[in-house]
């Protein structure tokens, strides 16, 4: 039981994510999280100004239910399957910690997200707010342009041996490498 509260190993986590994808296929659906962003835009009335959002969003209620479940799952995992006293989760390579320190980003010490992005102090900074908003815009625009995200392309598409998904995943990594190696150090210098 003790190990439930720590970091779950990659082979168990990866296997269970594969199972989630397969269960949805068995339920007659396709695993894809970013589609929900389009559905939410439609519900918010984006169809008034763009054809792209005029579709039968009610057919996507199953996927919104997965989202609701995922939020509940996150809540359960952080509130009931995590020991707040433990600091031996999110254990990073010491090199990573040193690099982050140089960018004034706090080490995890058991936290999932840096205070540099989530603390009340950080959120009073226009710079941090702009980073979160811009990051979100890139995620929303990019996933729709690519027709999927990590779940739709990297997990489902690659498992289904789809070349377009491989192209998209290569794109994810080129973008991530550019941001992480070249742009992040400029933003947080």
């Amino acid at each position: 039981m003790e190990s439930i509260y720590g970091t779950w190993p990659w082979y168990i986590s990866g296997f269970l994510i594969g199972v989630v994808m397969l269960l949805l296929v068995y339920f007659g659906k396709t695993f894809g999280m970013s589609s929900n962003l389009r559905t939410m835009c439609s519900i918010l009335g984006a169809g008034k100004t763009s054809e792209f959002f005029r579709f039968d969003w009610k057919a996507q209620r199953w996927n919104l239910t997965v989202v609701l479940g995922a939020m509940i799952g996150g809540f359960i995992a952080t509130h009931y399957l995590t020991d707040p006293q433990r600091v031996d989760t999110v254990v990073l390579n010491p090199t990573t910690v040193t690099e982050l320190q140089a960018m004034q980003i706090d080490a995890p010490n058991g936290k999932l997200l840096p205070d540099a992005f989530t603390s009340a102090e950080a959120l009073s900074s226009p710079k941090v707010l702009a980073i979160l908003l811009l990051g979100g815009v890139l995620v929303g625009f990019g996933t729709r342009y690519a027709g999927g995200c990590t779940s739709g392309h990297a997990i489902t598409g690659l498992s289904n041996l789809q070349l377009p998904s491989l192209i998209a995943v290569i794109g994810f990594f080129i973008g991530g490498l550019i941001m992480s190696w070249l742009i992040l150090p400029l933003i947080f210098s």
């Binding site: 986590s13 970013s34 835009c41 054809e51 479940g69 939020m71 799952g73 929303g140 998209a168």
Partner: protein, 137 residues
């Protein structure tokens, strides 16, 4: 009642992504810096599990809960959209460390700052809808 199974799958997904720390900004940073095998191990195991499972589904001509033969549709042919869209998403992923699934999971976990990322993601999706006809796919 038919939605219960989707709710349960979602709960499993949220728990696994949180406990594997795939929702963590730190894990995404270390992945892009090749400083840990953890995220690569997760993605590779998920893809291997998925590939084997889908092959079994297809070869055994299994039917889904609606009685249809299981056959995932092929993605549309294309190049530019997948690469450029993927690259733009990658920039966002590398910056705020969240793909769409974790955005929802983290908000459910009580990280309300991630609500700003969600707002941005909805705006980004809306921009795509406005510009779709002008973009090369």
């Amino acid at each position: 009642m038919k939605f219960i199974k989707f709710l349960l799958v979602g709960i499993l997904f949220g728990i696994v992504l949180t406990k594997s720390e795939a929702v963590s900004w730190y894990r995404i940073y270390e992945m892009f810096h090749f400083q840990s095998f953890h995220m690569f191990g997760i993605i590779m195991t998920a893809v291997v599990t998925g590939t084997i499972g889908l092959q079994i589904f297809k070869r055994s001509q299994m039917k889904d809960v609606d009685g249809q033969y299981i056959n995932l549709p092929d993605k549309d042919k294309g190049f530019t959209g997948y690469l450029v869209g993927g690259l733009l998403f990658g920039l966002g992923w590398g910056l705020v460390g969240t793909c769409p699934g974790p955005i929802f999971i983290l908000i459910g976990s009580g990280f309300y700052a991630v609500g700003i990322i969600l707002l941005g993601a909805l705006v980004g999706t809306y921009f795509y809808g406005l510009l779709k006809s002008k973009l090369s796919h």
